[in-house]
């Protein structure tokens, strides 16, 4: 089954929510069972956070989170086992499961999105989706740890984890989705559109990297498949719009851009009869291409046209269709660049394309060999910059550019429809009564009140109920 970052986040948050609903009371045994897992949990969280492509060279938020999680990950946060009485306690299964999921997310994020500019709001959203469940786990462990002198240091570390997690948990859920949620690990053996596309991309890369010489049929097949892939992405996006998964005003321009790329690849796939580059197709490409087309027919088509939204939704087993369309465009864009490079090398490099001798024009090219070939009606090597060759190159370049543009528009649909209002750092300050103060409201804002009064976004913290305020300190 295809695992996506979004899918793993669903699992992580469900586990955290389950933990938050557990009744907790201090227990040395349970605390030990949790404490033994925390270094791995912290390490997995750090890996995931570090694998989110950074928007800037210096990232103060990441440095801060790292400094909080590092001591736990290095197991420097708790007295050594030898200092404590021996206890044979198995590690807590729920925290282990969270650790595994976080590790899976970290692995997926390491794949990254090729040629996509990092998006700061998507980074913030993903960080909050990673740290909010960790906050819940920290609060749960805090509630379990007995308030003993030996636990003071680890409790303090966990309070820091809960605190930084809470700060990120305040990012509203609606503002968190982003392009990185679409990153997926696809089992190549499964019978799915994702698997067929990945297999095809791998085969395309192999075919285009061959040293044995490219064939015209290979290049035309890749271009035709790209047209079909764009058609599939447009049909999937249309379905997402029809089913209300994607707003019409956001999705329609994407469909138009993808349809434009679809048309341009169809044009790039047809070579005039007068141009010929012999050779067979790479066997892997041939198989993957046929499999891709068959999977698209089985999944997205009904007879001679694209299937209706309900049919497609049923066949896609309830997948997020906009995300599936974006993944299709990522694949298409990667292959498009490779195809265009190959065509450029073909027509302007050392490879030798043939052309019909009778269609060659220009007195400069005429010699005895050409005259003989024209009389016999055979193929001759195409001179460089021959107009029909330039036309094929231009078609591929236009199609690749259209695909890149369509992919960018498509990726934008992963963002929330409303742009988050981001507080600017306090670069401007007031100088009041001889003292520096950051500009801003002096009374607590609504989110600040939520931070202290209620569990963030309804997940519950699972931690102890807030203790009543102590006596105020007066000089």
């Amino acid at each position: 089954m295809t695992a996506t970052v979004a899918g793993l986040l669903d699992r992580l948050h469900a586990q955290a929510f389950a933990i938050s609903n557990l009744a907790t009371r201090p227990s040395e045994v349970r605390w030990r069972a949790q404490a033994v897992v925390w270094p791995r949990l912290a390490l997995a969280t750090m890996r995931a956070l570090n694998n989110v492509p950074a928007g800037a060279a210096t990232d103060p938020a990441l440095v801060l989170v790292d400094s909080i999680l590092q001591p736990i990950a290095r197991n420097e946060w708790i007295p050594k086992i030898s200092d404590l009485p021996a206890a044979n306690v198995p590690p807590d299964k729920r925290l282990i499961e969270m650790t595994r999921v976080l590790g899976g997310i970290a692995d997926l994020l390491s794949i990254g999105l090729k040629d996509i500019v990092s998006d700061s709001s998507a980074i913030l959203g993903l960080r909050s989706n990673l740290l909010a469940p960790v906050m819940v786990a920290a609060n749960w462990s805090l509630a379990t740890a007995p308030d003993a002198a030996g636990n003071m240091t680890p409790r303090r570390h966990l309070q820091l984890v809960a605190g930084i997690g809470a700060a990120f948990a305040f990012i509203p859920v609606g503002l968190r989705p982003g392009q990185y949620d679409d990153i997926a690990a696809v089992p190549h053996s499964e019978n799915s559109l994702d698997a067929a596309m990945h297999n095809w991309l791998d085969a395309t890369k192999d075919a285009l990297a061959t040293r044995k010489g490219l064939s015209g049929v290979s290049l035309q097949t890749i271009a035709a498949d790209l047209s079909i892939l764009c058609g599939a992405a447009a049909a999937t996006t249309n379905t997402a719009i029809a089913l209300g998964q994607l707003a019409e005003d956001r999705g329609r321009p994407v469909v138009e851009a993808i349809s434009d790329a679809n048309t341009k690849w169809r044009e790039a796939s047809r070579w005039p009869q007068t141009i010929y580059l012999g050779g067979v197709r790479d066997t892997g490409l041939a198989d993957a291409s046929i499999q891709l087309r068959q999977t698209i027919v089985d999944t997205l088509r009904d007879g001679k046209s694209w299937a209706g939204p309900t049919v497609i939704a049923t066949r896609m087993n309830g997948q997020d269709l906009a995300a599936a369309a974006r993944r299709t465009m990522h694949i298409a864009a990667e292959a498009a660049q490779l195809q265009q490079s190959a065509v450029t090398n073909l027509f302007f490099g050392k490879d030798q394309v043939m052309m019909a001798s009778r269609s060659l024009e220009g007195a400069a090219y005429m010699n005895k060999a050409v005259f003989t070939a024209r009389r016999r009606g055979t193929w001759i090597p195409m001179p460089r910059y021959e107009p029909s060759g330039v036309e094929v190159y231009r078609a591929a370049a236009n199609a690749a550019n259209a695909t890149t543009a369509a992919r960018l528009l498509s990726v934008a649909t992963a963002r929330p429809s409303v742009a988050p209002s981001r507080p600017s750092p306090p670069t401007t300050v007031d100088f009041t009564q001889g003292r520096i103060a950051a500009r801003g409201p002096t009374t607590p804002s609504a989110p600040t009140q939520r931070l202290t009064n209620e569990p963030p976004f309804g997940m519950g913290t699972g931690g102890p109920s807030p203790s009543p305020p102590g006596p105020s300190m007066r000089p």
Binding site: S227, G231, R270
Partner: protein, 95 residues
Amino acid sequence: MSLSTGEAYGHLRNAAWHYLSIDDDGGECVLLGAACLDVEDAFEKAEVIPELVQDEGSAEAAIKAALASLGNGNGPLVPALRDALVELAVRAGVR
């Protein structure tokens, strides 16, 4: 391979050109164009060199012409090429 297989390949290339030139909303023509390329690959494997042939005006007519050309062909691989062309013709509704 005989001249007729080269002609059949030439007609097949024209059929692919026509299918890949049609802008249909349903996207069926590009699938048929890709299917033509699959058969072209079979001709390449048989080491057939395409001939420049008269354009028949439509993909369907070009497929018919390719079948007709192959009818006169001889050689050990011609039956396999004919089978591939017939399969394409059936899919395209020509047969």
